[in-house]
Amino acid sequence: MSASTVLDWGLGLAQGMLVLAMALAAWRMLRGPRAQDRILGLDTLYLNGMLAIVVHGMRTGSGLYFEAALILGMIGFTATVALAKFLMQGEVIQ
């Protein structure tokens, strides 16, 4: 097996696993039962999506996808924090 085949298959598989993780998170998100479960599901969706981006960058050997991942990692939590805060206090900003 050549290095590129290994990479191709291995990273493809890793990406597939991450997408599968996304699917599981989405399942929780859709299933609930409570709003907190859904938010948790969305947060996990974001997380695994971010990792999928990193793996995609590895598959293509390109650093061009890094910023998308960094943004998700640094400020992706803003959306879920807002949701959680809404749940906790009934409003996002007092």
Binding site: R59, T60, S62, L64
Partner: protein, 122 residues
Amino acid sequence: MEIVLSAGIGILAASGVWLMLRPRTFQVALGLSLLSYAVNLFIFAMGRLTVGAPPVLKTGPETVSVDDPVPQALVLTALVISFALTALFLVVLLAARGVTGNDHVDGREPHHAEPTPEKPHP
């Protein structure tokens, strides 16, 4: 990939259209969001699909085969505009909810009479 993306666009669009036809303002706002996703992906699809070839040139003089940058630029413009307008729609729906007391797109429940100065919203 093409069939997957088409199906995705279709489902987003169908969900969006369905929501846009609903009577509650918030439904319409979300429908607008979904429909914008669908349309943005549609515009993007007009440049055909490529994987792993962003239109960012390497530091060499050679021209490489990359994805069509034009639809990407168009999507970016459309994206910003639809973001702005979604925000606007949201605020208008809030304002409407405030002044009419209900969240129907027409500003009144279908089986309620049109409000008059003498008989304001319930």
